[in-house]
Symmetry: C2
DNA sequence: TGTTTTCAGGTTGTATACAGGCTGAATACG
DNA sequence: CGTATTCAGCCTGTATACAACCTGAAAACA
């Protein structure tokens, strides 16, 4: 836990939102729990207004569920919810790649993303040689996916994808940490990086259908990681937001 | 305008949200306009708190844009934004159709959607015979699309699609009214209804790829309507939220 | 004993007061 | 005359008071 002392320059609302999200993701608030405003006022050290705002935002984010009669509860997720979220991300990233190919990406954008690709190559190489470069890889991976979406030059799509990725386990780097423990880690890493390269090639060659198919399949690497992660407890706990997951058949 | 007097049973927040949305969609607030809370308090007859809440909600909805230093402005949209929004909807509905096919829809669900299909057949027939059944068609069309998405049995996808459709011109029935003026109206209506039937057939036959392709192409009917609507002023004004559209090259 | 009613506690929705920050215009200065 | 500075007005973010509502439990009644 890096930041127990929250920066005071942040607005109270943002402070509350971050703190509340942590509380949920760390499992200090369990799925189904009703969240009342007043207790949170004490717990977060801000007044009701920012707490209220944070609750609304987190509901939009998908972590909370509104109760018809007022108030919120912590949402719970099934294994299938995660699979679906990953599939949705893959589908939208596929659309982004296709649009990028069809509309044509500018030369400078392609150079930028190829630079990113090269950096990732280095990191992947070091990782395969036995180092532990996952933090660096996660960051580069996030940057790559962001740049890719931008290639589509579609604000609507960026917006939609932002939402698709808010759930912690839906993001492109959610399962990279799990991957470290995976027996087939080398394969997934190598194949994933090849996807990255191929999709850029496809976009440059204006091969829309191919670019789309690659990104869809690319997202399914995350599904594979997920399936593995669910198999034993240690890897299960590596899943971001694992506390929100209910395994087959509970309330 | 059916409801100039807003139901007093609604909460102030909802009241404010509806009124504010109308104000924006009707063009009484122009794109780029900054929306201050106090003037809205006078204009909507509710206090700052509900106004504030409505603003946050409308930002999430995509009608407003947050100013970094605080406050909101009315968003503006380009022709391409709409095309992209339609493409996104088509892509997600395609995913829904594919999942429905792959996962298998229950017999009773298929019966229900076929009932809806049959009702639409009747309406389409009457329409082609010279009647004006568009309101009925719009409602049935909305119901069909809703049922289709439900067939995928994916809460995540339902959620994502709900968001994709919040923009008024992205919804499946946004351009049906324009269609009435379209020279090729008969064709679009006939083909659209055929899409509806074919996608259900595909789902029942577990033909995922076909179901997906059909829904993608189905959404492109809306793009066709849009392209036509943009050509002259009368049809342009039929576009929901037309006031938010900026034609090529303005601030 | 089972059902209905009543009531108290807590919770949310709404209104409003207050403080800090931003904006834009007028003014002073180079 | 152009640029930097100051200041007033407004606006948002936050805190808090108040009221309506819902919930759950105890009590009264059939």
């Amino acid at each position: 836990m890096p930041d127990k002392e929250v920066d005071r320059s942040l607005s109270q609302t943002v402070k509350a939102q971050l703190a509340l999200r942590d509380l949920i993701l760390n499992g200090e608030l369990s799925p189904g729990d009703r969240i009342s405003e007043l207790p949170m006022v004490d717990r977060l050290g801000v007044s009701r207004t920012p707490v209220r705002m944070a609750l609304v935002r987190l509901e939009e984010e998908g972590l909370l569920e509104a109760i018809p009669s007022g108030g919120f509860t912590v949402k719970s997720f099934t294994e299938r919810d995660i699979f679906d979220a990953i599939e949705i991300r893959g589908t939208l990233e596929g659309l982004a790649a296709r649009l990028a190919a069809e509309r044509g990406a500018s030369g400078s954008d392609l150079v930028s993303i190829r630079d990113c690709l090269a950096e990732m190559d280095t990191v992947v190489e070091q990782q395969l040689a036995g180092g532990n470069c996952f933090p660096a890889y996660v960051e580069l991976n996030a940057r790559f996916h962001e740049m890719l979406v931008d290639l589509a030059q579609s604000p609507s799509l960026v917006r939609q994808l932002e939402r698709a990725v808010t759930l912690p386990f839906a993001s492109s780097s959610a399962f990279v940490m799990v991957q470290a423990e995976l027996p087939e880690a080398r394969i997934v890493l190598t194949v994933g990086q090849d996807h990255h390269r191929c999709v850029v090639d496809a976009i440059e060659a204006r091969e829309g259908a191919r670019a789309e198919a690659i990104m869809r399949e690319h997202a399914r690497l995350a599904s594979r990681n997920l399936r593995f992660a669910l198999r034993n407890q240690e890897t299960f706990d590596l899943i971001p937001g694992a506390a929100l997951l209910r395994r087959r058949g509970r309330t």
